[in-house]
Amino acid sequence: MRYHQADYDVPLLFEACDEQKIDDRFDPTIGGAIPKGLLRSDLNIPDLPERDVVKHFINLSQMNFGVDNGLYPLGSCTMKYNPKICDEVVSWPSVASIHPHQDPSTVQGALRLMHELEGMLCEIGGVDAVTLQPAAGAQGEYTGIHIVRAYHEARGEKRNEVILPDTAHGTNPASAAMVGYDVLEIPSKNGCVDIEALKASISSDTAAFMLTNPNTLGIFEKDVKEIAGTLHDAGALLYYDGANLNAIMGKTSPGHMNFDIVHFNLHKTFATPHGGGGPGAGPVGVKRYLEEFLPVPRIIEKDGKYHLDYDQPKSIGKVKAYFGNFGVLVRAYAYMMMQGGPGLEAASENAVLNSNYLKDKLKDDFELPYGGLRKHEFVLSGKPLKSKGVRTLDFAKRLLDYGFHAPTIYFPIIVDEAIMIEPTETESKETLDRFVDVCKQILKEDPEILKTAPHNTSRRRMDEAKAARDMIFSWRGYKKKTENAK
């Protein structure tokens, strides 16, 4: 099978701009309503026929690769197929054309949907209460760590430190730091939390420990209850990064593992599309004793009517305006209703099956640090590539030539030349087999082909250093640079 991405030279829309003159018949004061001093003298954006605009963006879309184009095994990101009905319902006026300040009596359907979604997430997360407000996973973490701070402060304690494993996603330490915590990263042992190192680092200053389970290597942390016990004994809380929930639905839950706080990435596990990097949604669930700290408003049901409750004196406040990324919430709700409980459990089973299948087929061609089962993803080391004189980066770029998106690479840092693969449950055995064949074939190819890959994409390898050096972030910036150069 052959692959070649569309390849156009698409000029920037702004390139059409320069010859155009501003329309001087236009009266920007709108008959004197706005004083001249407040008005701009020009607006340098292009006037284009709709026909040209559509061609422009369609050509661009063809130079972009999404899950609908093919396998997107980006580890940690859960790039599963998104059922189309979920996108359709979001365009209904009853979803798209409601305003967040509307009287609650006029948005009962929306409030009910959110309330039911909270309930389903409680069940999946093994928690007692959920807020849908955070806009993404990282904001879920940020919300959760604010809850940690509020919890300790309410108990009159000042704790300054959040601990996390060195395999943690970058958003974990960044979120903790933004809430004002010092971050302590502890080294892993055999791919898992080093319990001795953890115990040694816990003190009366420890506010929380952040973990995802299965962890970043796709390994289930068997000792999670002991970890939780150790932290709880020290008066600290346990935070669950829900990015890896796709592995465990119906089998276990963060609540069953004794986590206190969890965020869910609806744009991963619950099939809402990633949109090229958003929008997402990062609801946060907590155990009963933390509910009073959740952001406002809470959605309350009473006698079949839904209300917005702002009267929560211990609430951390608001992390985002209004109620969360409603459009994303509706998609996740639709997906969950279609899957149902059994369907969600099956999703996890097939995600784990696909991952172990691929792992077994590829482990001898690469290196698999730490043996045993994996959950929804696994991390290979690309070290053996070095004997060919190439690196993981080259291998990843070469995969693009075959119409596969590359896996996540160089994360987690504890694996040399890491290749992190997450096939998800929506890929067929045929696709996985073809991926395996291509991986094996690439290993046999001339190293030069890899080092100069990709060849079949719309652009070849980037000069990323030039981008950082030139610092051109807009057409305006480009014009200034080129004029200065003259």
Binding site: E50, G277, M338, A396, R459
Partner: protein, 443 residues
């Protein structure tokens, strides 16, 4: 659980007898034993059940609506919906592999270019979650730029944004102090600002148009008073089709919500946080930035750049924790701005101003009502003052199928019986007539 023939084959190849064995590493003590959730449903059943549930929502197409306050009802051209509906955009992720993601990268660069031109800022990131978190991040960035432990906020801003800023400030132990507005004009009270510019103040945030719809006329004076401190300006980017860009007025950081460009109201989310800054501050900026470059063949290309500011590299020292942002809405904004173009955008903005002028003066002529409350120039919303209790008026309007403006009595008690009305190009003269008829009935 039933499994397909392929799954069984795969299990066999793994040397496993059942799916359960794949989960043998999860200890019994943490097992949950299944999900207590209903069975799944077919697509057609889902559609029916959602239709029933959501039919109780009264949306802008079934109920005349005058709400604004940060989220606005604008027309979205069909071409924009088609473009943002392309599944190559929708189903992709952050463009970590630029060679195969040029479409998204160039579209984001075009978004940055449009916003840069509108705001007059050379550097624009490829999106924050929304205006409220953009403000929160701006407070933090202001401290990175100017030092200090205090940040000043105009009182004439959205209480939603204010509350989010409070949380971001708390995380960084930054103190927020309010600056009052002038009771006659509705713009910043310069005397109050001057009195609060003490040591330790890193910067000041004000909006134009502000929460009351008033266009700030004293930006230059504010710039002067702030001296070296950071000036953060919040905008409704739609208004920048005609108004002077904050970059020309000396802003260091510009934030706002680009929802007005091609995104539906969606009950307040997802929207898109706009964030721009001066070039000298770029390394202190949060969020993803797309830069122009070339590939090894020398062809024009785009990639994410200055990533050493970001969480995946800098971890706890990053400028922000943001990872997933609102990329698809940035594509929508770029598509919207290119479809309407300069002429269209200026015409839409002018229609907003005209509608505001006309509605406000017509309401003003009804006895028992006064509008606009403030004397300054307005964009597309304004405060209506009423003799009668605004909550009562709101209820009466609702019974007539009209959603009036946002009642401010609880948020700004000092403004008395005040209600914030917005009107955009979506309202026809007949819509205004209906509202006026209803208000006259109340009098």
């Amino acid at each position: 659980m039933e499994h397909s023939k392929c799954s069984l084959e795969m299990l066999q190849e793994l040397g496993l007898k059942s799916v359960d064995e794949l989960f043998a590493d999860i200890p019994k003590s943490v097992r949950s034993g299944g999900l207590r959730l209903p069975e799944g449903m077919s697509e057609i059943d889902l559609k029916r059940s959602l239709e029933t549930m959501l039919s109780s929502n009264r949306h802008a197409e079934s109920m005349l609506n005058f709400l604004g306050a940060g989220i606005y009802h604008h027309y979205i051209p069909s071409a924009v919906k088609m473009i943002t509906g392309r599944s190559e955009f929708i189903t992709s992720y952050t463009p970590y592999q630029p060679e195969i993601s040029q479409g998204m990268l160039q579209a984001l660069f075009e978004y940055q270019s449009y916003i840069a031109e509108l705001t007059g800022m050379d550097v624009v990131n490829s999106s924050m979650y929304d205006a409220s978190t953009a403000l929160g991040e701006a407070v933090l960035m202001s401290t990175r730029i100017s030092g200090g432990d205090t940040f000043l906020l105009s009182r004439a801003i959205s209480p939603e944004r204010r509350r989010v800023a409070e949380l971001y400030a708390k995380g960084a132990d930054i103190r927020l102090v309010d600056v009052d507005f002038d009771r006659a004009s509705g713009s910043v009270d310069l005397n109050d600002l001057t009195s609060k510019l003490k040591d330790g103040v890193s910067g000041f945030y004000f909006e134009t148009p502000n929460f009351f719809g008033v266009i700030e006329s004293q930006a230059r004076e504010i710039r002067g008073l702030l001296d070296k401190r950071t000036m953060v300006v919040g905008v409704n980017p739609m208004s920048l089709a005609i108004l002077r860009p904050p970059g020309d007025l000396g802003a260091d950081i510009v934030i706002g919500d680009a929802q007005v460009f091609g995104a539906p109201m969606s009950f307040g989310g997802p929207t898109i946080g706009l964030f721009g800054c001066r070039p000298e501050h770029v390394r202190k900026m949060p969020g993803r930035i797309i830069g122009m470059t070339t590939d090894i063949e020398g062809r024009a290309a785009y990639c994410m750049t200055l990533q050493t500011r970001e969480q995946h590299i800098r971890r706890s020292k990053a400028t922000s924790n943001i990872c997933t942002n609102e990329a698809l809405l940035a594509v929508a904004a770029a598509a919207y701005l290119s479809v309407v173009g300069r002429t269209g955008l200026r015409e839409i903005a002018a229609t907003n101003v005209r509608n505001m002028q006309s509605l406000s003066s017509r309401i003003d002529s009804i006895s028992g009502f006064g509008a606009p409350l403030f004397k300054g120039a307005h964009f597309n919303e304004f405060i209506v003052r009423s003799d009668r209790d605004p909550f009562q008026i709101h209820k009466t309007l609702l019974t007539q199928g009209i959603h009036g403006g946002l009642v401010l009595a609880n948020m700004f008690p000092e403004l008395g019986n005040s209600t914030l009305y917005a009107t955009t190009e979506m309202h026809t003269k007949e819509d205004h007539d209906r509202l006026l008829g209803a208000l006259e009935g109340i009098r």
